[in-house]
């Protein structure tokens, strides 16, 4: 095989890559619609038609889970029956479970599924025990009132601070976000080279 052949082959691949990138930017790889814990909290309270699924293990689920969530593992997710106009909302913890579930889901199922951005961790940090500013800006007053109300509804307790709290953006559903970063540490693999 000569260099010329290699070169031509490479050009073909380049053209295919340009085409793939323009026609369907992310290809078969798609990100789910994410839901913020704030939106979820309101949805549960308003008894909206959702089926909330916790993908984590039994023991962790029993320690703490989002109210009304069912504990279903990855294998059981396929056989879960979803009623016609119900939304499936899945979440997990600081792990790959939600991502794995989304990856192995059929196209049909995906169209009615949303993922809770930040999972259990965010529920804990932003609904149950949120840190709220003592002296909020005017435009955040209503938002903070709602958070306080939700927090006590779910049996949580907000904490107040003098310091500035980042209220913008968090309580809005992440639009076409990337999955949140999971910094999993592996024992023998030090990061870097």
């Amino acid at each position: 095989m000569s260099n010329r052949t290699l070169g031509i082959g490479a050009l073909v691949i380049v053209l295919a890559t340009f085409a793939a990138s323009f026609l369907h930017r992310d290809g078969l790889h798609s990100n789910p619609q994410f839901l913020s814990v704030f939106t979820l909290a309101k949805a549960i309270k308003n008894r909206e038609r959702i089926v909330l699924v916790d993908l984590r293990s039994d023991s962790v689920y029993r320690q703490l889970h989002i109210p009304t969530a069912k504990n279903v593992t990855l294998s059981g997710l396929d056989s879960l029956v979803l009623q016609p106009d119900y939304q499936l909302i899945i979440y997990s913890g600081v792990d790959m479970l939600a991502r794995q579930a989304w990856n192995s889901m059929s196209e049909d199922r995906r169209s009615v599924t949303k993922v809770v951005y930040g999972g259990m961790g965010d529920w804990y940090d932003y609904i149950l025990y949120p840190t709220l500013p003592l002296h909020p800006q005017a435009q955040h007053q209503e938002l903070i009132r709602q958070v306080k109300e939700l927090s006590s509804f779910y049996g949580g307790q907000p904490e107040f601070t003098d310091q500035r709290v980042q209220m913008e953006g968090y309580y809005v559903d992440p639009d076409q976000s990337e999955w949140p970063e999971i910094t999993a540490d592996h024992a023998f693999v030090r990061k870097g080279c």
Binding site: N3, L6, A187, F188, V189, R190, K191, G192, C193
Partner: protein
């Protein structure tokens, strides 16, 4: 001197290496490296000579971790061990396994050794500042289109080309 087999087409070797790198991404979620392994060796050495000194230094501490795992039981260290063996095997199969000193025709061996050493010291500074070397930054980071890696790679070529004229006697 025993005739050795010719080198393979560099493009083929490059494709082969590219696939190895790709496989590493797919399996490990990270790329290859070399300087990190050498640093682990140095850190282990410093640690064995003086524990307190090693632990007091932020840089060394980063490679020592929390003490639960020996710093040499590390992915990169194993990988570099593989590199040593792989190079040996290839050299053996191609008849390129013998003591040698690569240098410019007019250069004395001792001078060559001196420069090899100094070059290593200088390169070490470069590699640590940049957090990687040609394997980790240029190859791995290059393939991932990492900004810092491309900056490093381009600077590397610039630095070497700039210096080439000065050290001509070493090679030509």
């Amino acid at each position: 001197m025993k005739a050795s087999k010719p080198y393979w087409n560099p493009y083929f070797c490059g494709i082969g290496l590219g696939f190895v790198l790709l496989l590493t991404f797919v399996v490990m979620g990270r790329g290859i490296g070399a300087s990190g392994a050498m640093t682990s060796v140095v850190v282990t050495g410093v640690h064995s000579v003086s524990k307190t000194h090693a632990e007091a230094n932020v840089f060394y501490q980063g490679y020592l971790g929390d003490g639960t795992v020996h710093p040499l039981k590390d992915w990169l260290v194993f990988e570099v061990l593989g590199v040593l063996v792989g190079g040996l095997i290839s050299g053996a199969l191609a008849g390129r396994l013998h003591w040698k000193v690569e240098r410019g025709p007019s250069l004395k061996i001792a001078v060559r050794f001196g420069f090899a050493f100094i070059g290593g010291v200088i390169m070490a500074f470069g590699t640590k500042l940049a957090r990687g070397c040609t394997s980790g930054q240029a190859l791995t980071g290059g393939a991932m289109m990492n900004v810092g890696s491309w900056v490093f790679m381009l600077a590397l070529f610039a630095g070497a080309y700039a210096m080439a004229g000065v050290v001509k006697k070493l090679w030509l």
